[in-house]
Subunit: 413 residues, 2 copies
């Protein structure tokens, strides 16, 4: 019998208990032994829930119980999760976590501590919720060099952008609906500003480079500037706007970025709607492989955590030796990464405006759907160069403002 403890009886924690109970028989046939949840740590009591029998308010009960093999950290946040996890590993207990902040901030150190203590630190649920992605990268994509990663890693923003596209709604109205449905927090910054997706692409880029990609270094732009009007242009183009978390690993350059992007109708990313997530990996031999599923939600996330519990129990005192080191991975400035941009300009003289665009961006293909403005797509060039030319454009005669710019997703090109 393997004894485990769950830290946190919130959404994911209660999901873990539910998955373990519902699929007890098949899980135990996979681990070859029964699994006993001996403790659930929470500050609260749950008098009407059978879990109350095993609730503890004191982490030391778990830490000092030598029978506990696996600690399941589903509290979220950096502290006290970091302290709890590190001390568990030091006591020779494996840890499974769904906590992307913790993994992004302290992953390499916790993997090292796990290795030193011959146990495992597993984090399948930290990216893509229920989508198997960490384990496939570690154990399936072993013959390939990953050249690029593009992910829709945040369900809240994907729901909002899908809803804006389907129903022609403005950002603020969709945010209200997302909050009512419980998809967005009252303070939605972590989602809509891209911070959540940033943590997740930091984890994936760290896995790909086997070094620590710091999320502070990743250029991050949210969806708050995407308007109903932008979406209308994009629909005319037959495309969709998605919040993409991307990273590239070719020609010795490593870069990462979180930003809205216009996705072509032929891209597999285009059909990833509502709260679904997807991660597309480009391997130098495999080509493109995409993993799609529910990126959040109680049971999908809990199922991913439980798949880690199965692994931890099967590999007691066998460190799986996968992850990344504490060595810092430097990132290229995204100014040096090639992009195309969709650009909306406001003009006071349409002929002069078009002439300036033609002169600076060598295009004569204009989209004219609204009074007083037009839009076009730039050529492909380093982003710094594109931005310099956009400044030139803004100072050109006939043009009164640049209303918005959105990168084109060109991974498929």
């Amino acid at each position: 019998m393997a004894v485990i403890a769950v830290l946190g009886y919130g959404t994911v924690g209660s999901g873990v208990v539910e998955v373990m109970n519902t699929n007890k028989k098949s899980i135990e046939s996979r681990t070859g032994q029964s699994i006993d949840i001996k403790y659930v740590l929470d500050l609260r009591d749950f008098p009407d829930d059978p879990v109350q029998k095993i609730i503890t308010h004191n982490y030391d009960d778990i830490l000092n119980d030598e029978s506990v093999e696996v600690v399941v950290e589903v509290m979220g946040g950096i502290n006290p999760a970091y302290t709890f996890v590190k001390s568990a590993l030091q006591k020779g207990k494996s840890v499974c976590t769904s906590n992307k902040e913790l993994v992004a901030a302290h992953g390499a150190e916790l993997m090292r501590v796990a290795k030193e203590n011959n146990v495992n630190f597993l984090y399948e649920a930290s990216v893509g919720g229920g989508i198997p992605i960490i384990r496939p990268i570690n154990r399936s994509i072993t013959s390939d060099k990953i050249e690029g990663i593009t992910g829709i890693l945040n369900g809240t923003t994907n729901y909002m952008l899908s809803k804006m596209t389907e129903d022609g709604m403005e950002y603020d109205d969709v945010l209200k609906i997302a909050q009512e449905k419980g998809y967005a927090e009252r303070n939605p910054a972590a989602d809509v500003e891209g911070h959540d997706a940033c943590r997740k692409i930091a984890i994936l880029a760290s896995l790909a480079t086997e070094k620590t990609v710091s999320y502070d270094d990743i250029y991050t732009e949210g969806i708050t500037n995407i308007s109903k009007t932008d979406i209308e242009y994009v629909k005319h183009m037959g495309c969709a706007v998605k919040l993409l978390a991307s990273a590239g690993f070719t020609d010795g350059k490593v870069w990462a970025r979180v930003a809205p992007a216009i996705v072509d109708k032929d891209s597999p990313m285009n059909m990833v709607n509502n709260v679904f997530n997807a991660i597309l990996l480009r391997g130098n031999m495999l080509g493109d492989v995409m993993f799609y599923g529910r990126g959040a939600g109680k049971l999908p996330t809990a199922a991913a955590v439980v798949s880690d519990i199965v692994d931890a129990v099967k590999h007691k005192h066998v460190n799986l030796g996968i992850g990344w080191s504490e060595q810092k991975q430097e990132l290229e400035s995204i100014d040096s990464i090639s992009v195309r941009k969709f650009v909306r300009i406001e003009y006071d003289d349409i002929d002069r405006a078009k002439s300036a665009v033609k002169h600076i961006f060598k295009t004569e293909e204009f989209m004219e759907y609204f009074d007083g403005e037009l839009a076009f797509v730039t050529d492909k060039a380093e982003e710094g160069d594109i931005n310099d030319r956009l400044n030139m454009l803004l100072n050109s005669e006939g043009i009164s403002d640049i209303l918005n710019t959105i990168r084109m997703e060109d991974m498929e090109a």
Copy 2:
């Protein structure tokens, strides 16, 4: 150093050598040791290829060389592959194969022999080419019960159906193009009659049930009856026709089927076009997870084989203990599985025809795009019942023929 041998220097075999050479450094860092391809078995010689130095025409050279740890079987076909693989396992060598016929026909036996000899029989490339699917099912989806599988598992037919849809072409014309492009064989039966997809769903269903699902028991219908006219109706419906390989595992019933199906525009299967493949798994906790990528081709398939080589080298003399038993899994008749069907009828009296449909199928929604015929979608009922009612319809006044029927894909409903 790990010593390996490759059986067959065709498309996949030469791809395996190329992947091993191109990604030598990263592969060896994953296995923790160098890998030496000591033999390539082929009947032919390759005088202009560096491989010639290690070509052998005699399998006994490999079998009797105790230094060979892993045998890579990429010859295809049942014989002599089966004899070669079994004898390698009996000699304590692990085997990695891309051979779906072999895995579908003898998988359980070869897994048992591998276990008895404390080695591994691995077959990631046998389903979905480069898409990681076997290993994710075995090692990631470990906390879920799989309730359903739906796959686009044959790139040739998916290319043909995509082309018929995009270009409004007839089946015979598209088949010629597919043959010219090398996507279809001169004798295309294995692809277009569904036999290839049938082998692959047999493997996936065996993994899900952990018993042997025999491909002979699987109802299999190809795409040869799909016409340009059918596709036009389906486009009017905003849907697409795909050759789906499906299996279900709920309520104690196990069933499997290969047949064309009409896929709704909101299904993630809808966007799987051209030679791409995809496998959607429905877990009782995870919900829907989809794996998408290149289902065939030299390098993607070879990359999957090499990921098995990495696993085999890492787990020398450690049987991973995954797969299915030789016990036969009985399948339900698909007559007892609920479906809806799209039905095209030819009439000699439109009013009587509609009245008969209305009486027998309780629908008044008709599609009328072509002279002398109309189409409708049935209610959802057991397929046997639907077929009985279609016979009644055929004998009804006003109706001269049933031109075609295509199942609706309702997994997403």
